[in-house]
């Protein structure tokens, strides 16, 4: 049973490799979408990608690092406002502004982390929310950015991205697609890295992880700042589409956190695939029911509640439970050489922990 020749350790199964192949094909098809999809569909897909990014980022934070934040709208809003400030007052080209915003988001998240990492569990959640409220009220005091009234992005700023409307729409679509791919790729690579492994160890057992010499604070800090930077970038893209920003819209806990939590939980928290499924379900619901007004929101609340109560690992958790399939291989499976007993369960360290 021992000895190097009798088994090999691998991450992927055949199904996973096929899945990745299919994923690559889908990605290619999505990248070429501006060539064959209409404006409305592009716009909707763009919005879907941005929500997918927010959901994946929140999932990284809560599902992997155990940092349940209800204040991610702070970063979305800061991203949006920075975009407006840089392009309107700084005269910066929007695409360059995005790079600056990404860096700025990381920088802003660090002092916030230093403050709120002193809090645990529910205190942490409430603390993040208060920080976001402080941002909302703070930006409401900035008269130059419209104060509480809000401010519109001049059409000429939008037009500086591309001169033709089709070009703008394609650019805006690719930006959204790009950031979604970037977020998912970063999350995947990160979780496969040393720090990512440490993160999973922390989630599974903080005490044990500490005894293994993992610096918990530092690991969480890195995740929080990374997620902060990316969320800020996503926020800038969101308001590049909305064209108008006001404190209540920018720092809306419902739009940028509650719905995102719904998405992640419905899809399956703690998996990379969950947010994708959740985003699809969320938009299916929205596109079919949103005209019903209050009824739509009631249905959304009920669906999220039911999933949490009866399928706490979400839809993807249920799919994985029945099929064992995973799209993004994170776990190791031990495959024994022929004649060996097939026993992957004991050594599998899959994403579910």
């Amino acid at each position: 049973m021992t000895g190097p020749a009798s088994h090999q350790i691998e991450r992927s199964t055949l199904a996973t490799r096929l899945g990745l192949l299919a994923g690559a094909a889908v990605l290619l098809a999505l990248a070429l979408a501006p060539a064959y999809l209409g404006r409305a569909d592009l716009r909707l897909l763009g919005e879907i990608f941005l929500y997918l990014s927010l959901a994946s980022l929140w999932n990284l934070l809560a599902g992997y690092a155990g940092l349940v934040s209800v204040g991610q709208q702070a970063f979305v809003g800061i991203g949006g406002y920075l975009l407006f400030a840089l392009t309107i007052f700084g005269g910066v080209h929007p695409l360059i502004a995005l790079l600056i915003i990404f860096v700025a988001g990381g920088l802003v998240s660090m002092p916030i982390a230093a403050l709120i990492f002193r809090l645990r569990g529910a205190y942490f959640a409430i603390g993040t929310w208060v920080v976001a409220e402080v941002c909302r009220l703070g930006f409401a005091q900035l008269g130059a950015l419209g104060g509480g009234s809000g401010i519109s992005l001049p059409v000429k700023v939008v037009k500086s991205i591309a001169s033709s409307r089709a070009g703008r729409e394609a650019a805006s679509y690719w930006l959204a697609l790009g950031v979604a791919v970037l977020v998912i790729a970063i999350a995947w690579l990160f979780l496969r890295s040393r720090r990512g492994l440490a993160l999973t160890a922390i989630r599974d057992n903080e005490l044990a992880a500490a005894s293994l010499g993992i610096d918990i604070w530092r690991t969480k800090f890195v995740v929080y700042s990374m997620v902060g930077a990316l969320t800020t970038l996503v926020g800038a893209l969101i308001f590049l589409q909305k064209l108008r920003i006001s404190p209540d819209a920018a720092f809306s806990v419902n739009d940028w956190t509650a719905f995102v939590i719904f998405i992640v939980v419905i899809g399956g928290i703690g998996t990379l695939e969950g947010p994708i499924i959740g985003t699809i379900v969320f938009f299916l619901l929205r596109e079919t029911l949103a005209d019903l007004g209050t009824i739509y929101l009631i249905v959304l609340g009920i669906v999220a509640t039911i999933v949490m109560l009866f399928a706490p690992k979400g839809l993807w958790g249920a799919i994985k439970h029945f099929t064992g399939f995973q799209l993004f291989p994170l776990g190791y499976r031990v495959r024994l050489a022929k004649g060996g007993k097939q026993d992957s369960a004991s050594m599998k360290r899959d994403a579910e922990g």
Binding site: Y36, G38, A40, D41, R43, Q141, G148, S149, L153, L243
Partner: protein, 423 residues
């Protein structure tokens, strides 16, 4: 040449028709009559829902009127109205506006009720080059709030309502009352309306000073504040006898009961927005009687509909008998919005061309149930003003009624009584 035909040709050519949800709109080319698609965004749910409470009554009525189609250049156009809820959320307003433009491919975008709806809707229309008409938001927060430049204006977006200068003028004539010191306390929140009303250049401060009133304005408070003691103290110290502002109902409720508790007794209280709806004022009980407000529209307005000939009184009565609810001011403006659309369709040179529709909107000059709408006479480009009066909530025979007490700036609207002081 429109984006729509562009896309259609392209899709037909590539055979990607089936892949697109827009297939529903595609059938139009084959229909007997062409269809005009109107998209309408309003806050049906959420904190602003009061502004949209009459919407479904109006839209249902308008659909009946439009059933026979609208004539354009001798051709009858079917009209389809797509209503979307902004959920009182500017994010959502922008989203549904863009959906209406891109997905439903509406020909004209309409929007109403407060800057939180009109501005994101108009912004989306301007960027996507779709004709857009909005109402029910003073024009300054609409125009300057969107970064408008009076010299240039906007290309595709139009608005009709009154402006701050009208509300100021009306309030001033309301306040020119014997036995009331010309000493005003201002309550302006840090939101689009409050910042516009309190703006040093465009808002209340300058005209008030010009008319010999002194204004105590401690600053912009955050909406949904739980304590107005600092304001009350400042007003008391300044000896204010008049209070004004533009508030949401919960904030005014807090301020008004704290005023009572802390012994602040102004003689006139004239507040925008919070006192529009009868239900809000009724909720204040006896403390609601005698409060005053701007009046954009009432059943006593001597106007009638260009579409149906219905008088203001008949429109309000129809609403009350159909829903059992008292009339509200947005009622007239919702109706007028569709009056303008019908008028524009009648005059547009080419309904397939957004530029022609825009030209027709620019050329509008008509009498509606809320007064004259004429974009050539606006204070700035893209804005047309409707008449404004002011009045007071008075009790007559046990029922609260909003009585017009000042018509200095729109004499065609008759006054119904005199302003009574609160104390």
């Amino acid at each position: 040449m429109t984006h729509r035909s562009n896309r259609r040709q392209f899709m037909a050519a590539t055979g990607a028709v089936l892949a697109s949800p827009a297939i529903m709109g595609f059938s139009r080319a084959y229909a007997k009559n062409p269809t005009l698609k109107l998209g309408y965004v309003s806050p049906a749910t959420g904190p602003l829902a009061g502004f949209a409470e009459a919407d479904s009554y109006i839209v249902d009525g308008i659909k009946k009127v439009f059933r026979g189609g609208l004539m354009n250049n001798g051709k009858s156009w079917d009209v389809e109205i797509v209503v979307r809820d902004s959920q009182s959320n500017p994010n959502r307003a922008a989203e549904v506006a863009s959906q209406l433009i891109l997905e439903d491919e509406v020909d004209i975008l309409l929007g109403a009720a407060t800057p939180d709806t009109t501005n994101p809707v108009a912004d989306q229309a301007e960027l996507n080059e779709v004709p857009c008409i909005t109402t029910d938001c003073p024009w300054q927060p609409y125009f300057f709030g969107r970064g408008g430049n009076p010299a240039e204006g906007f290309q595709h977006t139009f608005h009709f309502f009154w402006g701050l200068e009208d509300v100021i003028a009306n309030f001033l004539s309301l306040w020119n009352h014997d036995g009331v010191a010309k000493n005003v306390g201002g309550l302006f929140p840090n939101d689009a309306d409050g910042n516009a009303w309190g703006d040093a250049e465009l808002g209340f401060p300058k005209p008030l000073a010009g008319a010999g009133f002194s204004l105590t304005d401690p600053g912009r408070y955050q909406p949904l504040t739980d304590d107005f003691s600092s304001y009350i103290t400042a007003f008391k110290n300044a000896g204010a006898e008049i209070v004004t502002g533009v508030m949401i109902p919960p904030d005014f409720g807090t301020f008004w009961s704290q005023s009572g508790q802390q012994g602040f007794k102004p003689k006139i209280v004239t507040i925008g927005k919070a006192l529009l709806f009868p239900s809000t004022v009724a909720g204040l009980g006896d403390r609601g009687v005698g409060l005053s407000s701007e009046i954009w529209w009432s059943p006593n307005h001597p106007f009638s509909s260009s579409l149906t000939g219905t008088s203001a009184r008949a429109l309000a009565d129809g609403y009350t008998s159909a829903t059992g609810r008292p009339w509200t001011q947005p009622l007239g403006f919702r109706h007028a919005l569709f009056e303008v659309v019908a008028d524009v369709v009648g005059r547009a040179a080419d309904m397939e061309d957004p530029a022609a529709i825009v030209a027709a909107i620019e050329g509008t000059s008509m009498k509606t149930i809320v007064g004259t709408v004429d974009w050539s006479k606006g204070p700035v480009k893209n804005v047309s003003k409707t008449p404004l009066v002011a009045g007071q909530w008075q009790k007559s025979g046990g029922a609260l009624d909003l009585v017009i007490t000042s018509n200095d700036h729109a004499p065609e609207i008759p006054v119904g009584g005199e302003l009574a002081l609160l104390s």
